[in-house]
């Protein structure tokens, strides 16, 4: 069912590939920590070799799976600005498409943690009066995030309808 998540206009704007790189870095780091932990445990407790091999295999498999999932998920993000509303879609396995009218926006915020800053990316989040509105776009290049926020804020003010 491709048309369910078809873009409202020409095409979805993708998020920055740095988002995938960042997530994969975090994944690799945790995998390395896990492997080191297993080796240390082996040295201390003298675990049987088959258990050691099994544990290492499990960590490596999880890491590879995670690597692939991150790729799929990062590619799945997309957003489209229209005249009166913003569309966001994401998810590869569990998919979601959200449409937020600018007039309903209460506020927009940008967040960028230390790691995100190192990669030059930020997340933009839209809030409406409904907590169900989960309108977040992660991994936007910094300038694009600032532009989007400004554009959303001015459009929101122009079309504000409140509750």
């Amino acid at each position: 069912m491709n048309d369910l998540f078809a873009p409202p206009g020409n095409s979805w704007r993708p998020v920055a590939p740095q988002l995938g790189t960042m997530r994969r870095l975090v994944l690799s780091a945790s995998a390395v920590v896990g492997l080191v932990g297993i080796v240390v445990l082996h040295l201390i407790l003298d675990l049987p070799t088959w258990l050691l091999v099994l544990a290492i295999a499990a960590v490596v498999t999880l890491a590879v799976l995670g690597w692939l999932v991150i790729g799929r998920n990062t590619r799945s993000w997309g957003y489209a600005e229209r005249d009166e509303d913003l569309y966001i879609k994401h998810g590869a396995t569990f998919r979601e498409l959200i449409a937020v009218p600018y007039g309903r926006m209460q506020f927009v915020d940008i967040t960028s943690g230390p790691l995100e800053r190192a990669f030059g990316i930020a997340s933009v989040r839209l809030h409406t009066a409904s907590p169900g509105t989960s309108a977040r776009i992660p991994g936007l290049p910094k300038e694009e995030a600032a532009r989007l926020r400004d554009s959303l804020t001015s459009l929101g003010e122009a079309q504000a309808a409140g509750l």
């Binding site: 569990f94 449409a99 009218p101 007039g103 009066a129």
Partner: protein, 444 residues
Amino acid sequence: MSSGTAQKPYRRLSPLTPVARSGIFVVAVLTATWRDLLRGDLGPFGAVLLGLLIAGLVYGGASWLRTKYWIESDELRVDTGVIARQSRRIRIDRLQGVDIVQPFVARLFGLAELRMDVAGGSAREGSLAFLSLSDARELKDVLLSRRDAVRADSAPLPDADSDAGTDWRWVEPDRLLARVDLQLLLLSTLLTPEAFALILAGLGSMLVPLLVGDASGITVSLPLVGGLALVVFRKIAGSYRFTVSQTPAGLQVRRGLFELSSQTISLNRVQGVVLSEPLLWRRLGWARLDVSIAGYAASSDGEGGPSASTVLPVGDRELAMRLAQHVLSGTVLDQTVLTRPPKQARWVSPIGRRFMGFGTNESLTVSRTGWFNRRTNVVPHARVQSLRVTQGPLQRRLGLADMHVDSPPGPVTVRAQDRLATEARAILEQEIAVSRQARMPAGL
């Protein structure tokens, strides 16, 4: 702070406030020490409690002395605090609603708490406790009429007219929309799962010891029975003498046996309604009506009684429908055609599918779910916040998707579950356009 406060026309809370506040404590002290008191001396435990009580009364008295409220330039000002002084300003034009609540102890003293619902404020900030009931009513009327006057002022209206308008308003009597009589309340409470559980647990705890000849199980079953009884009793007490009437300020809901509450809902804050018809009530044609109100989300009291969102705890379906129509400003609910999800939805929700429905009319989106408790959720197009389509892996196999209508927090959730994927997206696009249209007049 300033010594000039004496010139201000401030008012104080009821002088009985410290007594009412420590009322429960007095009972505790008496029950803990009555034996000692009868013997004429005060045990060490009693002495400590009595000391605490006196300290509490002194503090309460000081707090009462320090608490003043007055109205100044469209603000309600409240000064409080014995050690650290606080001064609150509540803008009258920002008031969403003013409710009068009478907790049981306060009611014994004829006192009431005034709760003001301020946009974006917490419940504590907007509370005055306690006033005498007549003072509370008077202040509520003053606040609401002031608010309307302030709001009317900002609209282009001649002053003389608005004055005449307020005068005339107070003459108009409240129109009673619905009343729940005790018989209906008791019968309908009897037909709830909680009541059934109570009867079963009660019978069980009586019969099992008789049959087995061993009463030790009582210690387990008695708290269970007691807990259930309390839940059922709270339901009844909370909805006792429930009335809904239309007043100039909005919809007024009055209820309560021990704790009286009177709540005013302005109709333009209603974000949606939900009609609940539990299985056991459906045969008898009974229904319950709740509303989502902007800014009231967190105030459901969660103790088994009706929450702040309940507009009708039980009543004829007809009546509930008429009330829903009134709350939604006259839109007809009955004419909406609800359609079921397609056949393949049975793989995702085998039982639920038959009871699901979704439909729209020119002003509403409506969805229905549930067999055991059938809920009909309604959100006007003009109140739609955002729209979502979601699809899980199984749904994708079957070519299905859910369409969610996001509305402000409350009991109402409109959702088109397990529709054909193409249909779900079509509904979303259509709803985006329709809700934009519906929003326009309000926005301008």
